[in-house]
Symmetry: C2
Subunit: 338 residues, 2 copies
């Protein structure tokens, strides 16, 4: 028996959600996390061995991933549906893509949807009517309130320290979580900066019901990231990431020649066309899948500096849970006696 | 008896340090905090009723503030000495100023120094030799390690969500604290985003020995901020601050026509001279002391959104401490039973 609302809502043992990370969170990682008692999540471009702008190809690839994860676990799992901006037709983020992918998700009986990067009203009703539990990602307390009004089951509150984050509002986990907890009654999942039991304990202290862990799972055997990426995360220390932009491809990346060059281009007044050309020839696919950690983009959170070893996904869950009691004991010792 | 290392080091009841905030944290606030069991801190321009570039006038003003606080409390208190950049001669941040102020601090027997905005080797030995306990403010784990090597007694680790923050590294409290805790053995004080018991509990969970609270103390009776500033903090909600710059006057401010205009000037390619002219005619003194919250600069942390009432400084300490047990109880309920 647990008193944790998120565990009860989703039907999981531990309130730990493996955050979707675009190309590199496929069925293997999702199943490993779910089998270990957390909630695994399939990312929107999971299983891709090429970059495509074909809607049907993308949707069918997702279908194969969903079928695969169902073969690997009988526990709940989630699929991330980036809602996207209406009219945008890129392979990542387009509304045409999300419509097709959501339809495939419904056909395949996905139990939990994590919607993100777009307004919650687009798919929440459709998903809820089909019996899907809907988690929606937000960056501010007001967005959390709106998502609750729309009817989502829980909100993922993404702090600025997290990897691949899109918001220009820059609210950190430390302030976003208590503000969201003041604003809504539905469960809150804290995202951004959480890689160990101390971070998990802090998130729960701030008012979160569970945690959303991305970066720590990059350095796992089951993650689809190129080995260069896993090694780069393990080797990263201290200030190892940077928020690369505020208006076009906002996101926190591992620092690299790519981020240096991009920021230099911006600083020296490059045109939007030049910046776009640079971005579209130095992609996440190059970084995450092909392993060019110098010139491809590698989205990554500040917590990479805390990751020291490539382990199994189950081991990540075990460490988070097993180290909670000692972290709690240390916390209690720091509280002054009155 | 407490097991809290920071309380033992400084000789305080509660591990809560009132952060110095330049013009608005004078003897009245510092004494109220220290009398309530925390550590009050006098800011570098406390007690100013005008802007001066006179070194002696600044130092003598500080002497009056120190004498005043000693008359108001027999508990430990701190003085903030911004170390400043060698060769810079502005009234805020110049090395000439800090030399004179540190000398006055030593003459007046200041028990605790908080050094900031500069390298820790400049004054640590001098202060330690005189028996002063030295706390040094840093923004990265590597800086914390260097400060420990230099011999400071504790490090204040300032997260990006905090007000008036200077670092371009943007490490958030959520990641900075555990990384610093991994890097050093001396006590760690968490700064940035902490305004209530949930934040304090989270900071202690992350590995901090105590907390550094600034923004919450703006909205206190004893704070020297103009009433307009206190009201602005109380009224602020959700995303209410912005980090205004990365290369000249880096700092987190309450959003205002001032920050809008400044960011617009930057975006439209204003020269350094134009930007400097704008900054120097729209000062913190105008904002904080004269109460022009539209066109003066008002440094402020993201946690302003959590501040709902102007109360006494003692009440702030009481609420932080009295609400810890229930925050801890709620935290325990969220931890899954195994």
């Amino acid at each position: 028996m647990t008193t944790n609302r998120l565990c009860n809502l989703i039907g999981i043992k531990y309130p730990i959600i493996q955050a979707p990370m675009n190309w590199i969170t496929g069925a293997d990682l999702a199943a490993a996390v779910s089998n270990a008692g957390g909630l695994g999540t399939i990312g929107p471009n999971a299983g891709a061995d090429t970059v495509t702008t074909d809607v049907d190809e993308t949707a069918e690839r997702l279908r194969r991933q969903i079928r695969k994860v169902k073969g690997l676990t009988d526990k709940p799992f989630a699929v991330n549906f980036p809602i996207g901006i209406e009219g945008v037709e890129q392979s990542e983020g387009g509304r045409k893509f999300s419509e097709k992918c959501v339809r495939v998700g419904l056909e395949e009986g996905v139990p939990i949807a994590i919607t993100s990067v777009g307004p919650p009203q687009v798919y929440t009703r459709l998903l809820k009517d089909a019996g899907v539990t809907v988690l929606h990602a937000v960056s501010t307390a007001n967005q959390a309130r709106k998502a609750e009004e729309i009817g989502v089951d829980a909100v993922v509150c993404e702090g600025y320290e997290g990897g691949g984050h899109k918001a220009t509002t820059e609210m950190a986990t430390m302030t976003l979580i208590p503000l969201a907890a003041n604003a809504v009654r539905i469960p809150i999942i804290a995202a951004g900066g959480i890689a160990d039991a101390r971070g998990m304990l802090a998130a729960l202290a701030l008012g979160a019901d569970g945690v959303y862990v991305g970066t720590r799972f990059i350095a796992t055997h089951e993650c689809d990231a190129h080995p260069n990426v896993k090694n780069a995360v393990v080797q990263a220390s201290d200030v190892c990431t940077i928020s690369v932009d505020k208006w076009m491809v906002a996101g926190r990346d591992l620092k690299s020649p790519f981020t240096d060059k991009y920021l230099e281009l911006k600083k020296t007044g490059a045109s939007m066309a030049e910046l776009w050309d640079f971005i579209s020839t130095h992609t996440m696919y190059m970084g995450l899948v092909q392993g060019d950690t110098d010139w491809g983009e590698v989205p990554c959170g500040q917590s990479a500096a805390m990751v020291g070893q490539i382990v199994s996904a189950a081991r990540v869950i075990e460490e988070l849970i097993n180290e909670l009691p000692s972290a709690l004991e240390q916390l209690r010792n720091r509280i002054p006696a009155d």
